[in-house]
């Protein structure tokens, strides 16, 4: 068997009828060309899609793709040139409409042509690296219509003119505008940007630069901002209606630059209506507008902030150094608080509670409050006033609000220890005279100070409260034990104060009247009997007394006086007339205190239970005093007080200051030792910085003082200078 050759199964290529007709291509093309003409003439209804498709298919199949493609280009170009002519011929306002209509036609025709030439698009175009039909149509439109020199400038001018007219308030056909800009976008983003957007932005810039110039000449700041805001909104609206969304950022940045950034300084500083005036007049709306507009431009915030800060510092400075204001500390602090409230509200309402603005506000306050070294005293006086009388009949919440506000001012203080000094003094007076309105409020204040500055800061203040409580118990115990022995004698109320916790001045006790003295001695015996190893001294300069007095016509009054005054008045039980010298000798009250107490007894109208000769405002050494039996008063109870809670006089202030400085020394030394203990070796400047940071919460130590303290520590051999480097200090354990 001869090997039979095995035939492989083979599928033969599909054989088309070979077109022999040499004119075939020409004829087919004619049909297609005719069809394209008909399509452009809106006559497509008679055409058979199948036939056209088949013809195009066959042409490509028979390698006439090139002819088909170039034929398409030529035919389309010819049509577009015709269209260009008709668009150019359109008059005035019809120009855009004609362009829009023709664009619609072209798009539709292009769609149809693409459909019938689909086969070419799929096979011939990619393999020969041609442009696909649809894109080709757009490119040809761009080159023949949009870039035809008669249309290009006219189109741009028309568009810009329309936008200009709209800016001037006319109503334009936004739908048409939208279609045209859409066309430009369809032709590619570069066409939109080059042929429209760039010139549009340029024209807008010059328009707004002119307009802003005009506005700024004739409007005040508030109006200008309103206008700027409106323009900005208009432009955003314009973009959303008929421009590319990507243009929004660009056009708004143009408006921002021309209308805001370029005039920012001038706006902010505008006379009678600028930022400062807005702040002064609480123009929340304008301020908020300014904030929102300036937010858009670089440096905008810092401009507002800088102006606000300098304004705050300026007004604050005027407030704290104004000698008129210094006369009334309570009013002074109230003004500070009002100022803070006002600006807090502005920041809250108009500036979106911006942190950076709050910081600016805080730093300004810190700056000017510390310009006046009496601020700590005044703030304490303010609290004193509030706790004495200002908070009477006020709810607990309101008390908290007031105290919180005070704490806020307190936070700004650099010399917190000075505040503590004064607060202690004022608190002592309040507690001893029993003038405090509410114990809760006092305590709440202490708690606030504690959270702010730590235990150390308030431990003495708390000690004062404890003393008050223990004294009450002691007094109860005293009266319970002595009940039987107590006759008609005066009632004594002793407050036993721990030395150190209270701001006591060393003072020699005055001579108490015999009646009082005996009770005092009893108490001393009782107290020392229950507490061994203690020492009691009488602080007669701090006490008060209630005494009953009968005057000329038999009317009785209850006089509320200080211990000193009581001693003086008791002398008049036996004498009707005493000279200054006699009083001084009998009581041994220090001269300055005596003068003051006599002044309030004899020279205050309505409370002059003594008569002085000669009659004058001041007390002289050779004055004589008489019991004034003509004294009358509407009230049964008469309070004769040396005026309390006065701000300090100059020498007192000086003295307090010295005490504060004195108290700072051990604190600075302690800080230095703490630091050196952990660091062992450190140079001078680092010590100064570290000490400053450690003590910042209480006060700002002076570098010169720190240096002195270091020297003192070296003397006492806590530290030594490094032998090699004199700037280094070593800790000696």
């Amino acid at each position: 068997m001869s090997a039979q050759k095995k035939r492989n199964f083979k599928i033969e290529a599909f054989k088309h009828r070979v077109e022999v007709d040499p004119k075939y291509a020409e004829k087919t093309w004619k049909i297609l060309e005719h069809a394209i003409h008909e399509i452009y003439n809106h006559n497509a209804s008679g055409l058979s899609f199948e036939e056209l498709y088949r013809n195009a298919y066959n042409m490509v199949l028979h390698k006439y793709g090139e002819k088909l493609y170039s034929g398409l280009v030529t035919t389309m170009t010819w049509h577009l040139k015709e269209i260009a002519k008709s668009i150019e011929a359109a008059q005035g306002g019809l120009f855009l409409e004609e362009l829009n209509r023709k664009w619609g036609d072209h798009n539709k025709a292009l769609q149809m042509i693409r459909d019938i030439l689909m086969y070419m698009d799929r096979t011939f175009v990619p393999s020969n690296h041609k442009t696909p039909v649809h894109e080709l149509g757009l490119n040809l439109w761009r080159d023949n219509i949009i870039h035809s020199h008669k249309i290009q400038t006219r189109l741009l001018d028309t568009l810009l003119d329309l936008i200009h007219r709209e800016r001037k308030g006319e109503v334009i056909n936004r739908g048409l505008m939208r279609n045209i800009t859409k066309m430009l976008m369809d032709l590619g983003s570069s066409v939109y940007q080059e042929d429209f957007e760039r010139p549009f932005l340029e024209v807008s810039a010059s328009f707004y630069s002119g307009e802003s110039q005009q506005f700024i000449e004739c409007c005040d700041c508030g109006d200008y901002l309103k206008k700027a805001e409106r323009r900005l909104n208009e432009e955003m609206e314009r973009v959303s209606h008929y421009l590319d969304a990507k243009s929004e950022a660009k056009i708004t940045s143009v408006v921002e630059k021309e209308m805001i950034a370029n005039h920012m300084q001038r706006l902010v500083h505008m006379e009678n209506s600028g930022l400062v005036n807005m702040l002064v007049d609480d123009k929340y709306e304008d301020l908020s507008r300014m904030y929102n507009l300036f937010r858009r431009v670089p440096e905008g915030f810092s401009t507002i902030r800088d102006v606000m800060t300098s304004h705050l510092r300026e007004t604050g400075k005027q407030l704290v150094i104004d000698p008129d204001r210094l006369r009334d500390p309570v009013d002074f602090v109230q003004r500070l608080l009002d100022m803070k409230d006002k600006h807090d509200k502005i920041i809250n309402v108009a500036f979106n509670n911006d942190k950076t603005f709050q910081n600016a506000l805080n730093s300004s306050f810190e700056y000017f409050i510390n310009l006046n070294n009496r601020s700590p005293e005044f703030i304490s006086l303010y609290v004193d006033d509030k706790l004495r009388k200002g908070l009477k009949g006020v709810t607990e919440e309101d008390v908290e609000v007031v105290l919180d506000k005070v704490m806020m001012l307190f936070r700004y203080l650099q010399e917190k220890d000075v505040f503590e000094k004064y607060y202690k003094q004022h608190l002592a007076k309040r507690l001893l005279s029993g003038k405090t309105v509410s114990d809760d409020a006092e305590r709440s204040m202490i708690v606030k100070l504690k959270t702010e500055c730590g235990y150390q800061f308030t431990s003495k203040l708390e000690g004062m409260f404890t003393d008050m409580r223990t004294s009450q118990d002691t007094m109860q115990g005293f009266y319970a034990s002595q009940y039987s022995e107590m006759g008609d004698g005066p009632t004594l109320a002793v407050q036993v104060l721990t030395t150190g916790s209270w701001p006591t001045q060393p003072s020699t006790p005055c001579n108490l009247p015999a009646e009082i003295l005996s009770v005092c001695e009893k108490f001393r015996a009782y107290y020392l009997g229950t507490h061994t190893g203690r020492r009691l001294t009488w602080q007669t300069n701090m006490g008060t007394a209630d005494i009953k007095a009968t005057f000329g016509k038999g009317q009785k009054h209850e006089l509320n006086v200080s211990t000193y005054q009581m001693c003086v008045l008791m002398l008049f039980n036996s004498e009707d007339c005493l000279s200054y010298k006699e009083i001084e000798q009998a009581t041994e009250i220090p001269a300055s205190d005596l003068k003051r107490c006599l002044q309030s007894l004899a020279c205050v109208k309505g409370k002059n239970v003594l008569r002085k000769e000669p009659m004058s405002k001041d007390i002289a050494e050779d004055d004589a005093f008489y019991f004034n039996d003509k004294f009358t008063s509407k009230f049964i109870k008469v309070k004769i007080g040396t005026v309390v809670a006065q701000k300090e006089s100059e020498p007192e202030k000086h003295e307090t200051r010295q005490r504060v400085e004195e108290d700072r020394k051990p604190q600075i030394e302690a800080a230095i030792v703490r630091i050196m203990k952990s660091r062992r070796v450190l140079d001078h400047n680092s010590i100064v910085t570290e000490v400053t940071t450690q003590l910042q919460s209480r006060f700002l130590p002076n570098p010169v003082v720190i240096k002195k303290r270091i020297e003192s520590l070296i003397e006492r051999e806590f530290l030594e200078r490094d032998k090699a480097d004199r700037k280094l200090y070593r800790y000696l354990a």
């Binding site: 599928i11 899609f49 088949r54 769609q111």
Partner: protein, 91 residues
């Protein structure tokens, strides 16, 4: 069935196949014919003449349309297109 939902495909020999438009549109070319804007004759009349496609082939094509409409989104292997001797000759 409404006339708008069907389309008539006519073969070279003049056989007319009336099929669902949905099925015919399986072919992208026919879809273009029927949806291209501007109203070609095909769109207006609802019929397409194929002077170069013989009746058996057009019939098979129609069958394919329906098959495709129903199964094309599933795996081929599950629902094989029925190929027989005739099918091959049509190729």
């Amino acid at each position: 069935m409404k006339k708008e939902d069907t389309v008539k495909l006519i073969s070279a020999e003049g056989f007319e196949f009336v099929i669902d438009k949905k099925a015919a549109m399986v072919s992208h070319t026919i879809r273009n014919m029927l949806t291209s804007p501007g109203g070609f004759a095909e769109t207006q009349l609802g019929e397409v003449t194929f002077p170069e496609i013989s009746t058996p082939i057009l019939e098979k094509v129609c069958q394919y349309f329906y098959w495709s409409l129903q199964y094309a989104r599933f795996l081929f292997s599950l629902f094989p297109i029925p190929i027989n001797a005739f099918s091959l000759t049509t190729l």
